[in-house]
């Protein structure tokens, strides 16, 4: 009896560990899915936009600590993280990306350069040391619904945040006029232009929105882990794999693939060493992609 309940709680906790990873991966991947899936732009600096969000949260927390509103700051930090990453993305699109829409492989190289510059800038502004924002009391510690089960509050918060953001993205992409414009632009730029959609503006906002989502991902991530100048670059390959694995243009695919990869990685980590878990997860993803290059979920269309 005691045995089964230990097994059960462990399984539950393991599932939760996977859910936390899933939340972060999905938050990262949503932004990338919009940028890469909808616009075909490969933004290697996506991770750095996540770092922007994380550092914004850090700054806000220091500020909040000094002015005594530590318990309320996190909502503000989320908004600020989104806004700053959005603005930075808007700027990047204006300065660089829009010149490269016809050369997707070149955006990859140029944005890699951008990520180097951003990393060095972080290093000079915030120092090389990993930082971690002071958390309000209600975000630390854990929630215990039953003995033996500790669900970290920050993890729960990230989970809720992920649900809210995903729902928001779904509303925006599939239930708003703006979403129709974005999808129209990506499917046929010329026609979209012809029916009076300002495609340039749509591009810019879409890109900035993707970056803003990365900013939120960063704010969420830094509450459960930490932030350094190169934090974002640790996630970039995984995030790209999530998007590609899910079938680039499909929101549902991105969610499913983030879930699969996160649970696989987290579950394997429980069974073997961390590095082997990573190797096996990645190898499986790559092999499946080789067999099914269009990703898990994609629509067959008449060419």
């Amino acid at each position: 009896m005691a045995e089964t309940s230990t097994l059960f709680t462990t399984l539950l906790m393991q599932g939760f560990a996977g859910m936390s990873l899933f939340s972060v991966l999905l938050l990262m991947a949503l932004g990338l899915a919009i940028i890469f899936g909808q616009m075909g732009v490969i933004n290697m600096a996506h991770g750095e936009f996540m770092t922007i969000g994380a550092y914004t949260t850090y700054i806000m927390s220091t500020f909040a600590e000094a002015h005594g509103f530590i318990n309320q700051y996190f909502i503000l930090a989320l908004i600020a993280a989104f806004a700053i990453a959005f603005a930075a993305g808007y700027l990047l699109e204006y300065l660089l990306i829009r010149r490269l829409y016809k050369r997707p492989l070149d955006t990859l190289l140029a944005t890699w350069g951008v990520s180097l510059v951003m990393q060095q800038a972080f290093r000079e502004i915030f120092g090389a040391r990993e930082v971690s924002p002071a958390l309000p009391e209600w975000l630390t510690g854990s929630y215990q619904p039953a003995p033996g089960i500790d669900l970290p509050v920050s993890g729960l918060m990230v989970l809720v945040l992920m649900l809210v953001v995903t729902f928001g993205v779904w509303l925006m992409m599939y239930r708003s006029r703006w979403g129709i414009r974005v999808r129209a632009t990506t499917q046929n730029r010329v026609i979209a232009d012809a029916v009076g959609i300002n495609t340039k503006r749509v591009d810019r906002i879409t890109f900035a929105l993707g970056c803003g989502l990365a900013g939120i991902a960063g704010a969420a991530f830094t509450t459960i882990a930490s932030t350094g100048p190169t934090t974002g670059s640790l996630f970039i390959v995984d995030t790209f794999l999530v998007v590609v694995f899910g079938g680039a243009a499909s929101l549902f695919g991105t969610i499913a693939s983030a879930f699969t990869i996160a649970q696989a990685q987290s579950g394997l980590e429980f069974l073997m060493t961390g590095s082997m878990a990573k190797v096996i997860t990645l190898v499986s993803v790559v092999l499946i992609l080789m067999m099914r290059p269009e990703g898990l979920f994609s629509v067959k269309v008449r060419k």
């Binding site: 490969i42 660089l96 050369r103 190289l109 140029a110 510059v117 390959v237 080789m290 067999m291």
Partner: protein, 383 residues
């Protein structure tokens, strides 16, 4: 048909190519060895091993349109094969007598491994090692190529997947340190068939072997590009469907080119190990792989010789600036990537090949700046 081939070679374009090749040979074989002391020359030798990768990338990325972000995989495999042989030679039972298991590499002993793993065994043989350096990475590239190109995966997806493979290989090497030396890599390599590779004379000889191999590689690539395969690559980049519906198995052409690029990288990796004296996972991963693409982009993705200069210049810059302005260097490097991609899609070679265009570029930029500044100044007077 030698006469015909020759006449085919010496068209106007080829003549300038030949002159450029001769200049490069002069630089690598005469000027640099005379101008630099052995320490600097050894560094140049190291940079030139990256040039192998860059030349391969000109073939597969510049001409074939296949952007691989995983050339570090092949560089690393070639380098590791060579390193395994040298490590075994350095780990003879006499010099490792103090280990708990003499005769195996020191890092295995530290990891409590009691016997040489099976896949290390054949690396006792130098001829096997040479073959492995050439075959193993090429075979791996072949497998990746078959899996990807036969299913028409290309472009961005190929780039991302090669990048993921580079990541996997790094994690694997670092994670299996008892078998691979882990993050430290395979270090303390001393002799090649009893010949001390750390002496100055050895460094000179290795430098020349390296330079000669590189020049040979360029000549081979030049020949490849002037063959029908070269034409096909250009055709492929432009209209892949047309090539396919002219009866070609496009996948095979791509696989072949990718394999050639991998082979070049592997030779570069092996020469790296010989000249630097060790190999580590930091040459396998994502960052070095992308850096090597940048060398190619800087030199000019369509220029075999430009790729060599690209590798030399970026590395010189890295070495020079990181000594004097360490922090500035990363900004410069980033700016270099962005600038080259934006303004010099054909890299430095583009500058030399189309001086007129360069002039136009400068003129346009200047005009644009003036145009941007002028209204700002005039605005108060206007509306």
């Amino acid at each position: 048909m030698p006469k015909k081939l020759l006449s085919h070679w010496i068209t106007a374009k080829n003549r300038s190519d030949l002159i450029n090749l001769a200049l490069l040979a002069l630089l690598l074989l005469v000027v640099l060895p005379l101008a630099l002391d052995i320490f600097r020359l050894n560094l140049v030798g190291k940079y030139l091993t990256f040039a192998f990768v860059a030349v391969g990338l000109v073939l597969c990325w510049g001409y074939g349109g296949i952007l691989s972000l995983g050339q570090g995989i092949f560089f690393g495999l070639g380098g590791y094969c060579m390193a395994m042989f040298l490590k075994l030679e350095a780990s003879d039972p006499v010099s490792t007598a103090i280990q708990s298991t003499p005769g195996i590499p020191d890092f295995m002993d530290w990891n409590q491994i009691k016997a040489l793993p099976w896949f290390w065994e054949p690396f006792h043989s130098f001829s096997f090692t040479l073959i492995a350096v050439l075959i193993l990475p090429t075979l791996f590239a072949y497998l990746i190529g078959v899996a990807m190109f036969k299913r028409r995966v290309g472009g961005v997806y190929f780039a991302i997947i090669t990048q993921a493979i580079a990541l996997i290989l790094t994690v694997l090497i670092v994670g299996q340190q008892g078998l691979t030396g882990g993050i430290n890599g395979i270090t303390d390599l001393k002799t090649l068939l009893g010949w001390d590779i750390r002496t100055n004379s050895a460094r000179y000889i290795l430098y020349y072997i390296n330079a000669a191999l590189l020049l040979g590689g360029i000549v081979f690539s030049r020949w490849l590009l002037s063959s029908k395969l070269g034409l096909l690559l250009v055709a492929l980049r432009d209209k892949e469907e047309r090539v396919r519906f002219s009866g070609y198995d496009v996948a095979n052409l791509k696989i072949f080119t990718f394999c050639v690029a991998a082979l070049f990288s592997a030779v570069g990796g092996a020469m790296f190990t010989l000249q630097v004296g060790f190999m580590s996972p930091s040459f396998v991963g994502i960052v070095p792989s992308i850096e090597m693409v940048i060398f190619t982009a800087v030199g000019g993705r369509l220029s075999l010789i430009g790729a060599v200069y690209g590798a030399l210049l970026v590395n010189f810059g890295k070495s020079y600036f990181s000594e004097t302005f360490a922090d500035l260097w990363l900004y410069l490097m980033g700016a270099l990537f962005i600038g080259v991609v934006l303004f010099l899609p054909n890299g430095l070679a583009g500058l030399f090949r189309e001086p007129r265009q360069t002039w136009l570029l400068i003129k346009h930029t200047a005009l644009m700046l003036v145009a941007k500044l002028r209204p700002a100044r005039l605005r108060p007077e206007g509306k």
